[in-house]
């Protein structure tokens, strides 16, 4: 066979293996595991697995607050928002560990408000009652907390040391509790707050390069401002 013909024969074999195979076997083997159109598999008829939120099923692990701070926070949550009527309280809504997660993920200034506030509550309790805050009874705790409560408007919490923490934490404890699954599972009536619900926007065509750009490696220059001389709110909400 001329070389030219040999090459032609090899090429034609390469292009038509299935044809050759089917000619040679009486019961053709199943087709080889060639690329399957896997991208077409999921479709509008595909059942969606049903999943649950973790609340009430799993336990959040403490990561930020110290054990003493956590004990203070647990007591504080129970005092500020106990179970009332049918509604669960902050403890039933797992608010203390949720706040450990939220505050632990937050910028330094917010962490400081909480850590500082919890430490101060405990030291104040020791000073007045020679007991940790976590062990105070309702009347004793009220003696420390009540004088620190203020009325205030949105985005303008009190700014005096310790007063700021109590009022901000009260607001956060309420929000975290009202927005929990435990709260939502019991319907609200009258003046009982309702769990926030609404249109949640997913990231819209997210820019996957953003994390790699130089701008994010620069030191943060858009920072929460320290207290200005003109009492503009500095608390980063």
């Amino acid at each position: 066979m001329l070389r030219r013909d040999f090459v032609r024969a090899v090429v034609s074999i390469g292009f038509a293996p299935r044809l050759l195979l089917s000619q040679q076997t009486a019961n053709p083997a199943p087709p080889p595991p060639a690329p399957v159109p896997w991208t077409l598999g999921l479709n509008s008829k595909t059942p969606l697995p049903h999943t649950e939120v973790v609340d009430g099923i799993t336990e959040t692990e403490r990561r930020f607050f110290t054990p003493v701070q956590m004990a203070v926070l647990v007591r504080l949550c129970d005092l500020l928002l106990p179970p009332i009527g049918d509604k669960p309280g902050a403890l039933q809504a797992e608010t203390p560990l949720f706040l450990d997660f939220l505050i632990g993920s937050s910028p330094a200034s917010r962490k400081k408000v909480y850590s500082g506030g919890l430490n101060w509550l405990d030291s104040e309790s020791q000073k007045r009652y020679k007991r940790p805050f976590a062990k105070l009874d309702t009347m004793q705790a009220d003696g420390i907390l009540k004088p620190l409560l203020r009325t205030w408007m949105s985005d303008h919490p009190p700014t005096e040391p310790h007063v700021d923490f109590i009022n901000i934490a009260h607001d956060d404890i309420r929000t975290a509790t009202v927005n929990s699954k435990a709260w939502s599972d019991v319907s609200s009536a009258g003046a009982q707050a309702s769990t926030a619900a609404g249109l949640y926007w997913s990231p819209i065509e997210p820019d996957i390069h953003a994390g790699n750009s130089d701008c994010t490696r620069m030191p943060a220059h858009v920072i929460a401002a320290p207290k200005a001389t003109h009492s503009i709110p500095a608390y980063p909400r």
Partner: protein
């Protein structure tokens, strides 16, 4: 064939850009619109969820959007990310720059309040000697306001005093609730007009560029729109020195591109338009691009309770409704403490009173919430910020955004004028509320940081004198007749009024002027 030359390049797709596109294309002008972000489709991008299904139970994601007080976990992904498009400021003087780059911009999410500026704003200097007069008056803009009010279906009553001109309204004839009437009567001693709110009803629940302006432009077949186009700088013709297009980068792929146009219309929002001019080094022979940054003071206010509505006694006759108290200070009398004035947004509500209004907790707090439910009456300020040369933005050459475009440095602060105005609003508001028989629960005299109002205006102010202004009365650059800035950058003073109606009217007027000049071959 790529690199075709369009008649007009419009940068930005919000109220200003949308109006320019509508007017120009309806006049036969071929327009290319570039928008920095993507199209938002509520059906694809949003879903109704309860807070407990979100990672942070509705709290703003930690560390994100620190300067967008309006952000929550639900809406966090609609705002421009502060890490992706940063800006700088001195830590002692924070600035809240609130931006949306989705197609339609902030017109997708605005509060709908719709007021005209009056000659107390247009001719403020003539009235009190401060700042500069606009080169136009209410009479010049009135026909455009009327057409905008029709497009946006503004509802209101013909009850405005001279400082809040009436307009082309769908009449609001709902009766006032009794609590509002008591407030009105008590306000008379301060010459405080209490008027029906004026709000853009729009169509199908939305009053935005995307449903009221862009569809008209698209129907002409003369609008080409491109999403995810982050404009780097304007390009300039080497021979004529005139702007002739821009360089831009695709937001997602980082592909670098350019387009050419005979005319450039900036509508990227006050500070982005200004940033573009500064980065392009165009249109600044006056040296005033970036100067006279203004907005309105927000955040100060008073929350009250109507005693007769407590303990389950609230009714629709007693409670409900909203009012606008337009500026009443420094109209016929002169205050010693501040120039110009403020408005109050007043609301009577049959809903809950916020727990922050009671210095108590636990069961005692719940008892208060129950008792006070349905009795809420509150007011918040919208106050004019004076235009000052030293309040400005400039380029920070040492910082860039995610596309290597130099960022803005914002240097601005409120002054005694603004702080005194806020104090006055709270004093007067409390006095009137008490005279009406309401109980004052909480007050705040401290304004939110500059920029919070999302009404930043100025930095390319208009005027007749090219040495004292950036634009002329048609929003046209003094330096380049084929360059227009049709968003809030052109404002010569801020006023107390939400700027949207004025931005729309100015953009309409400027675009009609531009279309006329192009048809006469003057541009």
């Amino acid at each position: 064939m790529t690199n075709e030359t369009f008649d007009v390049l419009i940068i930005g797709s919000g109220h200003a850009g949308g109006m320019a596109a509508k007017v120009l294309t309806e006049s036969g002008v071929r327009c290319l619109m570039l928008n920095a972000g993507p199209v938002a489709d509520v059906a694809r991008n949003a879903q109704h969820k309860p807070a407990y299904e979100l990672p942070y139970r509705g709290f703003k994601p930690p560390g994100r959007l620190e300067h967008v007080f309006q952000a929550s976990e639900f809406n966090a992904n609609v705002w421009v990310d502060e890490q992706e498009v940063p800006y700088t400021f001195d830590a002692a003087n924070p600035y809240n720059w609130v931006r949306v780059r989705l197609f339609g911009g902030r017109s997708l999410f605005w509060s709908r309040q719709s007021f005209r500026l009056s000659d107390y704003e247009f001719k403020g200097k003539s009235h009190d000697g401060f700042g500069e007069d606009w080169p136009i008056s209410h009479a010049d803009l009135s026909p455009y306001y009327s057409r905008v009010e029709d497009i946006f279906q503004v509802s209101g009553a013909m009850d405005g005093p001279p400082q809040m001109p009436d307009g082309n309204f769908i009449l609001d004839e709902d009766p006032w609730s009794e609590s509002m009437q008591r407030f009105m009567a008590a306000g008379k001693s301060f010459n405080m007009p209490v008027c029906k709110q004026r709000r853009a009803l729009g169509r199908d629940g939305l009053a935005s560029s995307v449903n009221l302006l862009l569809p008209d432009a698209e129907n002409t077949g003369k609008l080409t729109s491109i999403a995810n186009a982050v404009v780097r700088e304007l390009t300039v013709d080497k021979n004529t020195g005139q702007p002739n297009g821009c360089h831009f980068v695709d937001r997602l792929s980082r592909r670098e591109m350019r387009v050419k146009a005979r005319v450039v219309v900036l509508a990227a929002g006050t500070l982005e338009s200004t940033r573009l001019l500064l980065n392009s080094k165009v249109g600044n022979s006056s040296g005033l691009v970036g100067r006279y940054l203004m907005d309105q003071i927000y955040g100060a206010g008073v929350t009250c309770s109507v005693p007769e509505a407590r303990n389950g006694k609230a009714t629709k006759e007693l409670m409900g409704g909203g009012a606008i108290v337009p500026r009443f200070r420094n109209i016929t009398t002169k205050s010693d403490a501040f120039l110009r004035g403020y408005a109050l947004n007043v609301t009577s509500s049959i809903g809950p009173v916020h727990p922050r209004n009671f210095a108590t907790y636990g069961a005692e707090l719940q008892q208060k919430l129950q008792e006070y439910h349905g009795s809420s009456f509150y007011m918040t300020i919208m106050g004019e910020v004076l235009g000052r040369y030293e309040n400005h933005v400039r380029i920070n050459k040492d910082k860039v955004d995610a596309w290597d475009i130099p960022v803005l440095h914002v240097e601005t602060k409120y002054t005694e004028n603004e702080y005194n105005m806020a104090k006055d609003a709270v004093e007067v508001g409390s006095t009137v509320a008490e005279a009406a028989g309401f109980e004052v629960l909480s007050k705040n005299i401290v304004p939110n940081p500059p920029g919070y109002s999302i009404h930043e205006v100025g930095t390319c102010r208009m005027g007749d004198d090219p040495k004292r202004s950036v634009l002329n009365k048609w929003c046209q650059s003094h330096d380049h007749k084929n360059l227009f800035v049709v968003d809030g950058a052109s404002f010569t003073s801020a006023g107390w009024q939400n700027p949207t109606m004025t931005i729309l009217a100015l953009s309409m007027r400027a675009s009609e002027y531009l279309a006329g000049e192009m048809s006469k071959q003057n541009i």
